[in-house]
Symmetry: C2
Subunit: 152 residues, 2 copies
């Protein structure tokens, strides 16, 4: 398959997609957020080929999303754990999950919902807000070149 | 490449990834949000092979994210436009973009930033909020089976 790298583009979306846009990577991320750490468990839960899973995990480790840690003395067992950078993808994961909730179960409701651990109530839908708190849609957003601090 | 469909899983994240997780699809989405509509423009901007782009666009249309519309009389030109369902991915796109902003340009700042069209100020980072407004992190979230309305 023809592949282009977007790792050095000036667009943050392109760089993010370069890390997460391979088939399987977002599902590995889902599993990592739900607590999966072992290669064999990822393999079983996602039913990906071992070769594909190996390649995906390797890339996620190299790019800083997962950390590969030794978990026993004989040096042969490892676990894959979200780094701080990986944990910071939570907003994206929840936004994507909520989109699936809204669109991909019709006419039914999704069978599982995401709730606040403290009070058990459903969490809010993730929204985009202006600095002053207004909710924004696409027409309310612009891209703007950042002014270097020294020039402002 | 071995491929598993996640289209019928009970998890909304899995169903979302089944639509958007192919290599290239998230970048097509980025272009659609920035106003690209023509096949040739997607092709030029993303540098994907025509075969791959054709397959990706076809799937996004079939799954309801994009609409393929006729744009002139001879019936030979089409444009690809986000549907309401596609537009609703904005939150995910912005969350992913902001993640890239935070992590993938260090030590520099990203050259372009997303601002409020009304006042030009940078928008807020997307966050996850509880029903009562508290900001939530991973440890504050739980998954819970939804109780059918008739049973509640």
């Amino acid at each position: 398959m023809q592949r282009k790298s977007w790792a050095t583009e000036n667009c943050p979306m392109a760089r993010s997609v370069d890390i997460l846009g391979d088939w399987g990577s977002l599902m590995i991320l889902r599993q990592a957020f739900s607590g999966t750490t072992r290669f064999d468990d990822f393999q079983k839960e996602l039913d990906l080929s071992r070769n594909l899973l190996t390649a995906r995990l390797k890339k996620l480790v190299e790019r800083g999303v997962l950390e590969r840690r030794l978990i026993n003395e004989d040096g042969r067992r490892h676990e894959y754990v979200l780094t701080e950078m990986g944990e910071d993808l939570l907003t994206t994961v929840v936004a994507l999950r909520q989109w699936g909730d809204r669109w991909l179960f019709k006419p039914d409701l999704p069978p599982v919902t995401m709730v606040d651990a403290r009070d058990g109530r459903e969490i809010q839908q993730v929204h985009i807000h202006a600095a002053d708190g207004r909710e924004l849609t696409r027409s309310g957003l612009r891209l703007r070149p950042r002014v270097p601090e020294s020039a402002s």
